[in-house]
């Protein structure tokens, strides 16, 4: 069985699971308790951090895919790296959009150049540049190797992004990282369901993008063979 068929076989049950989880997610977010300080706007909690985790995961997939490609030389790993970067950038873009919506309602302004927001923007630019590098180049082994190294180096920004509030001694408008017990009563389950739903959505999209990348390579090879004969 080819790798395309394997990806497709894994992806289809995930689509069904995602459909069910989306309904559960909507119900638990609507029924989640309203925060006594922030009010209803605090419900953005159930979408903004899960998007951030999805973005981190996407860029980690890119780093792992790049490392495996450099080590084993299999094109499939390079395609996995591309899928991780693209889905990671989509999640990171949504994190950057939903964050200011929440900030406008609580801080009174859309953006603040505080450490967490600045490093997040840097992370977004790094992987946007990765995708531009891939789309503007001819492809081939040299590009894949360069992209592999670049993708691995970009991962360094993830722990920096996560711990930047502690590094700057909490001189940040952004709240501290969530810890066990830091959520209000009744908010733990909705947060867990939100993370699970967006994680399944992330995996589904990575598998679909990986499959597309694989088909694109096959189509390119077919076209090249057609021109050569």
């Amino acid at each position: 069985m080819s790798s395309d068929a394997t990806l497709s076989r894994i992806r289809l049950p995930m689509a069904a699971l995602l459909a069910v989880l989306t309904v559960v997610y909507a119900v638990v977010v609507i029924r989640a308790p309203i925060d006594s300080v922030q009010g209803v706007i605090q419900k953005i909690l159930y979408v903004h951090p899960p998007l951030a985790y999805g973005a981190y995961l996407g860029f980690i997939v890119t780093g792992i895919g790049g490392a495996l490609y450099l080590w084993r030389g299999r094109e499939s790993y390079d395609r996995m790296a591309i899928a991780g970067a693209e889905v990671g950038v989509v999640f990171c873009t949504l994190m950057i959009v939903t964050g200011p919506i929440w900030a406008r309602g609580t801080w009174g302004k859309w953006w603040s150049w505080d450490p967490r927001l600045t490093v997040t923007l840097m992370l977004w630019f790094v992987y946007l540049a990765y995708l531009l590098l891939r789309s503007f180049s001819e492809g081939g082994e040299r590009t894949a190797r360069l992209a592999g190294v670049y993708g691995i180096l970009g991962v360094v920004l993830i722990p920096l992004n996560y711990y930047v509030i502690e590094i700057f001694d909490r001189r940040s408008m952004h709240p501290e990282n969530l810890e066990r017990g830091s959520l209000g009563a009744g908010m733990g389950w909705p947060f867990a369901i939100a993370n699970l739903t967006l994680f399944v959505a992330f995996v589904y999209l990575v598998l679909l993008r990986w499959e597309v990348a694989s088909l694109e390579d096959r189509a390119l090879r077919t076209r090249t063979q057609g021109e050569g004969s």
Binding site: K43, V47, H48, T93, L94, V97, L205, L208, V212, A219
Partner: protein
Amino acid sequence: MSYVIAAYGVTVVTLVVYALLLEARRRALERELRPPGGGPQDPTRA
């Protein structure tokens, strides 16, 4: 409330549109790779 709707709305619409675009691209590529006259797309996938 409008901020909450905006945050969830932009997320759901973006993810759904992105998934649909990928699915359309996947189907177009499968059509392109399908040999003329039907049959399996690829002997290795049979």
